[in-house]
């Protein structure tokens, strides 16, 4: 072991301490967003900012790849392009694919929830300001939801609803003590992990309390940790 090695280890040891406080590379943020979305029983607010950043980065990288390929083609004969260069391009391409995959997982999970709770979210987002920054759905999702619902209602109507008595044809019937609107069940238990230093106390009702300590893994009702998930003190796993 030479002096460089020792220095290096010292450096990594200190830098690791720092990074542990803020583990927020774009990649990590995406993973957290994806897993949270997958595990939560309801639709979480769309990560407008994060997705915007990531998509911009992806197109940057793709431009870089295009430029590099051009550069590679021009200099192919002169032997400037080494295997190393190709390897680097390959790593960049793989990285783009990995991020793409994560985004796809994220969006697909959201779409499946929108499909499941269509009427509920149409009602929920009805009086949202279309220009506000913290909308629940992205504009594409919004469009998808409405069109999907339109097609689906038309299909139902044509297939069987038109032959039923008029009183039975409502898809959002809430009379008769039974709501026809499928709603997310916020009481579902979820696996969560606390990632802040300060302990979080949640009440379990009937003067029962539970402390969530750092790094602890718990299964609790989603409703109880909902607020902590939105500020990021607790992540779902």
């Amino acid at each position: 072991m030479d002096i460089d090695d020792i220095l290096q280890e010292f450096e990594t040891a200190t830098s690791r301490k720092e990074t542990k406080k803020t583990p927020t590379t774009l990649y990590d943020e995406l993973v957290v967003a994806m897993v949270n979305e997958r595990m939560a029983p309801e639709l979480l607010p769309f990560k407008h900012e994060l997705l915007q950043k990531v998509l911009a980065q992806i197109s940057n990288q793709q431009q870089f790849l295009l430029d590099s390929h051009e550069y590679g083609d021009v200099n192919a004969e002169s032997g400037v392009v080494t295997g190393d260069f190709k390897l680097q391009l390959m790593i960049i391409e793989t990285d783009i694919e990995r991020i793409n995959y994560l985004i796809r997982l994220y969006l697909r999970t959201r779409l499946s929830k929108i499909d499941k709770f269509t009427i509920f979210y149409i009602n929920e987002t009805a009086d949202e300001d279309p220009d506000s920054k913290d909308r629940l759905l992205s504009s594409q999702e919004q469009k998808y939801m409405h069109q999907h619902f339109k097609i689906l209602t038309r299909l139902y109507n044509n297939c069987f609803l038109k032959r039923l008595p008029h009183t039975l044809t409502l898809l959002d019937d809430t009379s008769g003590g039974q709501s026809m609107i499928v709603e997310p069940d916020l009481n579902q238990p979820v696996f969560v992990k606390s990632i802040t230093d300060k302990p979080i106390t949640i009440s379990l009702g009937e003067d029962d309390e539970l402390d969530l300590v750092n790094d602890g893994i718990y299964v609790v009702k989603y409703k109880l940790v909902r607020d902590y998930i939105s500020i990021g003190d607790v992540v779902m796993i």
Binding site: T12, D28, I99, L105, D115, Y218, V220
Partner: protein, 198 residues
């Protein structure tokens, strides 16, 4: 549909593997390479024989091209794992604290970089399997403690949680529904005595 039902509310082992591939790992490059700017992370400029920390998946790529050797993490050796195994036996009610993705990382390293590990791979594999089994037995025993409101499962890795998840969540959900009906009945009991028949 947009997401197959086996993917809903659960992760697949391959997805967990995918997430573990982004764990940072120390490598010892054999060649120099310029730094690469990636979206998620940054790969620093590599210089021969100078340790650097890079994401595991890049390390595996470089390794397959013989451009680096991987420095195994401090927990992936026989002595440490034996110690943890003994700890698992000594404390039957606790899980020893292994890194949250020990199963995935060790699997990747054993498959792709077995020549960089300090100990013979068959011994490592067998101690990892032992650890896995004893923890599995423990978590199964812990299922007896399931109730309708909450449980605590410190020290379990993501992959192990994922195995338990479908069972735990379904059972807790059912218990919760049962519990809710009891609570409702209790409040309704005052004017309805005939409930005793059930």
């Amino acid at each position: 549909m947009s997401l197959p039902s086996h993917l809903q509310n659960n992760l697949t082992p391959s997805e967990i593997n995918f997430m573990a591939e982004n764990e940072l790992i120390t490598i010892l490059p054999r060649y120099s390479m310029n730094k690469i700017e990636l979206i998620g992370t940054k790969v620093p400029a590599l210089r021969a024989m100078r340790r650097e920390e890079i994401p595991l998946w890049i390390a595996v790529v470089l390794k397959s091209q013989d451009k680096c050797s991987i420095v195994p993490p401090s927990w992936l050796n026989l002595t440490y794992l034996k110690e943890k195994y003994d700890e698992e036996i000594r404390k039957p009610l606790r899980f020893s604290d292994l890194p949250p993705n020990w199963l995935e990382v060790s699997k990747i390293l054993l498959a792709k970089a077995s020549d960089d590990l300090a100990d013979p791979t068959h011994q490592l594999r067998s101690i990892l399997q032992d650890l896995r089994e004893i923890r599995l037995v423990k978590s199964r025993k812990g299922l007896r403690e399931l109730n309708e409101s909450n449980i605590q499962l410190n020290g379990l890795s993501l992959l192990e949680i994922n195995e338990l998840r479908p069972f735990v969540l379904t059972v807790m959900n059912k218990l919760r529904l049962l519990h809710d009906t009891i609570a409702k009945k209790d409040s309704g009991d005052a004017d309805n005595v005939s409930d005793d028949e059930y």
